[in-house]
């Protein structure tokens, strides 16, 4: 029994210590923003590897999610004789929820895990220590550009996901199931609100991008520098990112749409 409480105490203290290290890590990372912006090449390289290389998975996933929404939406809406509202349903689902959430989860799986493994291996092979001894701050030189790239890319990838999703919904709804083309677009234009839907969706994806980039880079930086340590850290990145995205999505949705 005593052992149980001892272990519980250890785990609790360990978790608090980790949160503390994470916050210091974040502050240190943000402190490097100025120096990274003065050397845009560092950022551009990361924007390519974190953002551009995620383009394909986000596009294909967006297309299929949009197509499935078109299919399911049509079956439900046509029961109520409201199949023309398919455009609204597809667009609202994507812009409000699925775009930010699914693209952030995919981003965590594709780019976040890669960041954790990269940083973890740099730690294991003493590259980060080597930089410190060359009087180069590894957080500012290595972490900050990756953090900023993740933060900038996520909203753009979410926008891409939603746009391609709408095209997917249109392909199925209008192209295959015969929904009226004019009604699809005009109802969407009339109903989707810039502030309520698009801005809120962008805010969500900015928050998710911030959190996923933070978790991915911190897990890599804080990992035990062995093969097993890096492997565990990579798993933690994907699991913790997914939980954080879904939890934060609920909170943000409640705050944004709670009063309507």
């Amino acid at each position: 029994m005593l052992e149980f409480f001892e272990n519980l105490g250890k785990i609790t203290l360990g978790s608090f210590a980790k949160v503390g290290r994470g916050v210091f890590f974040l502050l240190h990372t943000l402190g490097g923003t100025g120096s990274v912006l003065s050397r845009p090449n560092l950022l551009i390289k990361q924007l390519y590897s974190v953002g551009v290389l995620s383009f394909l998975i986000i596009s294909i996933s967006g297309l299929f999610v949009g197509m499935v929404l078109g299919l399911q939406g049509f079956y439900i809406l046509s029961d109520f004789g409201a199949a023309e509202s398919l455009g609204v349903m597809v667009a609202a689902s994507l812009v409000r929820e699925l775009g930010p959430v699914v693209s952030a989860i995919l981003f965590a799986g594709r780019a976040g895990s890669a960041l954790t493994a990269e940083i973890g291996l740099m730690k294991a092979t003493e590259q980060l220590s080597g930089m410190e001894m060359m009087a180069v701050d590894p957080i500012m030189r290595i972490i900050t550009p990756r953090f900023l790239a993740g933060f900038i890319c996520t909203p753009l990838l979410a926008a891409l996901f939603s746009s391609i999703g709408v095209i997917g919904g249109h392909m199925v709804g209008v192209g295959m199931l015969g929904v009226d083309d004019g009604a699809f677009w005009s109802q969407m234009q009339a109903t989707i609100d810039f502030q309520k839907d698009i801005v809120n969706g962008v805010i969500k994806s900015v928050v998710f991008g911030f959190v996923v980039s933070w978790i991915s880079l911190f897990e890599g930086y804080d990992c035990i520098p062995t093969s097993e340590g890096v492997s565990r850290a990579t798993t933690r990145t994907v699991v913790n990112s997914a939980f954080s995205i879904l939890g934060l999505d609920f909170i943000l949705t409640a705050l944004m749409f709670g009063d309507t």
Binding site: M122, T125, E126, Q127, S129, G130, M131, E132, M133, M134, A135, V136, D137, R141
Partner: protein, 272 residues
């Protein structure tokens, strides 16, 4: 009474250093001096904290007690900016080489120059080629780190460590896992760089022959204490059992062959 080197000519002074990891004491009140312009070796069995000592000197770890001065500056009271300024004058050669794997050999050696100087690319090119030529790898400039052998990676790391013309270089196990030719090349390089560039070298190693060949002064560490010190010749004649066991590679002595365990016979019979 333990002998000490002269403090006047020392570039690194470690005084009354204690350091622990968890409940394990790595260093217990040790003091040593590294002489300017000399090659000083820190030797001892695996796990005696030799690499930890280098990290303490480089300010990557902080001691529990005691002080470390490098070039008359107390490493652990320096502000971050001053510590980084001091590190620019210290080169460190990691056991793995610690080359940046996303850059080729040329860019790895150019890295500290690009980070810390405003030199033109043509000037950087000249410097990088000079440093690579010094380690015999000018022709390997376009290779990536994964295309290098262990010995080559260490030589590239050495070229990188001398890129900013430091005051001193710390070598972490430079000879471990090297074939005789690479080992010979590294021994020769360390000696040659020390004399031609007027460096101070600290070599952490357990390769007795190679290190004794080039070291001017040797400290032998064991179980958190300095158990012997002196020039290689003095250590050969040392009457300390520790030093004799280490220098001659005897399997048993003050450092026991067996990890502490209960009585052998009792242990065998206990399973019945």
């Amino acid at each position: 009474m333990v002998k000490t080197n002269s403090v006047e000519n020392a570039i690194v002074i470690v005084s009354n250093l204690s350091f622990s990891r968890g409940s394990r004491k790595i260093f217990d009140d040790i003091s040593l001096n590294i002489q300017r312009g000399k090659i000083t070796a820190i030797m001892g069995p695996s796990g005696t904290g030799k690499t930890t000592l280098l990290k303490l000197i480089g300010g990557q770890l902080a001691p529990d007690y005691g002080q470390i001065f490098v070039d008359n500056q107390n490493v652990h009271t320096l502000k971050t900016a001053d510590l980084y300024a001091l590190r620019k004058r210290m080169g460190m050669l990691f056991q793995s080489g610690a080359l940046l794997t996303d850059m080729n050999v040329y860019d790895n050696v150019a890295f500290p120059l690009r980070e810390h100087t405003r030199l033109s690319e043509s000037m950087i090119r000249t410097l990088v080629l000079m440093k690579l030529n010094a380690v015999g790898l000018r022709g390997a400039r376009d290779l990536m780190p994964n295309e290098l052998s262990g010995g080559m990676a260490r030589r590239v790391a050495l070229a990188r460590a001398i890129a900013l013309d430091p005051l001193m270089i710390m070598y972490d196990e430079p000879f471990t896992g090297q074939d005789p030719i690479s080992m010979g090349a590294l021994v020769h390089l360390i000696k040659a760089l020390n004399s031609t560039l007027g460096l101070t070298s600290i070599i952490v190693s357990h390769d007795v022959q190679e290190t004794a060949e080039i070291a001017d002064y040797i400290y032998v560490l064991s179980e958190g204490k300095i158990v012997g010190e002196g020039t290689p010749k003095e250590l050969e004649k040392s009457d300390s059992e520790w030093v004799q066991q280490f220098m001659n590679g005897n399997p048993d002595g003050p450092v026991h062959f067996h990890y502490p365990a209960k009585d052998y016979l009792d242990d065998l019979l206990a399973s019945q």
